[in-house]
Subunit: 236 residues, 2 copies
């Protein structure tokens, strides 16, 4: 398994026409390479509250993923929230079923990110838009992760789309916070894992890449120590 | 007709169990005394987009009214927004069907108002909660009215409930902004209108009240002129 082996990620996906969404299909392909749970709310025949709450309890990181419709999640996700997130489940009678779990948001927008600010055509920031969702996480005593925004995905060049996908995969599975160390650890694990799944006869090059990566990581670590020593010298 | 005779108010009401909501039933009784349109979205068999857009176009003041569920409107209203407020209707292709109309929000909360602030149990303000809805109004070039909040209606004393109802009626029909002059005008019109509907033989007392009210209004006007003169004297 790639990423933090102990981290169970649940992605609550909301999109009323998910099969027609290039962005969501792309993200789904990316997510499926990892051991995460992809849970599409509009695809449920009926919202079984007990079952949904069981899914939430079993997860360590809960992600709400959706396209932005009128500065909020689609109605399908709100319907799910209104039914599944009962007061008793979240905070009533001393309950705190989601306490200390991580809460993330993956939102895709049709407008460029630069319009989401005062004076932009949207005249409201992504943080302002997400405040009500994050308030739910606060109420549940969860830890809010920074929001992951994907703007105008279909206009990105292929290389940028691939970069977005890797960042998305890290958002789903990498240890938080997003420090250099956690990032390196994630990439190293991913390399190692990919190697295992490749045909062994075909793998000399891959091994080289992995070894180079590990070597670079050690070099970097050495450099950081050196810088740290220089700084100490300056302080004296 | 009571209120501004030229003002057409449309109330888009969202509540999944409106018949069980004492607050909404009370507000409905209050609204029905006025010439406003009460439009309950969960009561619609099907959302007919053309018809809904026609209703919106015909209105001067559009009110969204709902109980607060997880720091937002219920899923029913979001569903209505996602379907009815098409890009083309709101701002696409140079359209601005709702431009210069007034937009208001009537929200009822189960928690006391004082909890809606940093450090309160809700840790988010009503203004922060309503920002996404107001952003829609901004996008449509509408004029945002202050939000009308009703907190813990069922715990209010009867006198406070009646006061809330009158404030609500004013919110629906009184000229904006809520100045003393506009308030006086509203009350005068309401008195006059009520008089007409009462049995004429029964009305001597009412006439007296109305005349007293008008007299008081004139006295107040006189006082304001006097204060204004005194202030001018001070400035010299």
């Amino acid at each position: 398994m790639i990423g933090d082996v102990n981290l169970k990620t649940l992605i609550i996906v909301s999109h009323p026409e998910i099969n027609n969404s290039q962005t969501q299909q792309f993200l789904m392909q990316g997510a499926k390479l990892f051991d995460v749970t992809w849970h599409h709310v509009e695809g449920l025949k009926k919202i079984d509250v007990d079952n949904e709450q069981k899914l939430l309890r079993a997860a360590d990181r809960i992600i709400f993923q959706f396209p932005l419709y009128w500065y909020a999640a689609p109605a399908g996700l709100k319907d799910w929230e209104d039914k599944v997130l009962t007061r008793n489940f979240i905070y009533g009678d001393g309950n705190d079923n989601l306490r200390d779990k991580e809460f993330g948001i993956v939102v895709s927008t049709g407008m460029p990110l630069k319009e989401f600010r005062r004076g932009g055509t949207e005249n409201i920031t992504i943080d302002q838009i997400m405040a009500p969702l994050r308030a739910i996480a606060d109420r549940a005593k969860m830890e809010n992760l920074p929001v992951f925004v994907i703007s105008q995905f279909q206009y990105l060049k292929e290389e940028q789309q691939m970069q977005t996908l890797i960042d998305y995969q890290r958002y789903l599975t990498q240890k938080y916070p997003d420090t250099l160390d956690n990032r390196q650890e994630w990439f190293e694990q991913e390399f190692a894992d990919r190697l295992k799944t490749l045909d062994e006869t075909n793998c000399t090059e891959c091994e080289t890449i992995l070894n180079t990566f590990i070597q670079q990581k050690e070099d970097l670590s050495q450099l950081k120590s050196t810088i740290s020593l220089i700084k100490q010298g300056e302080d004296e």
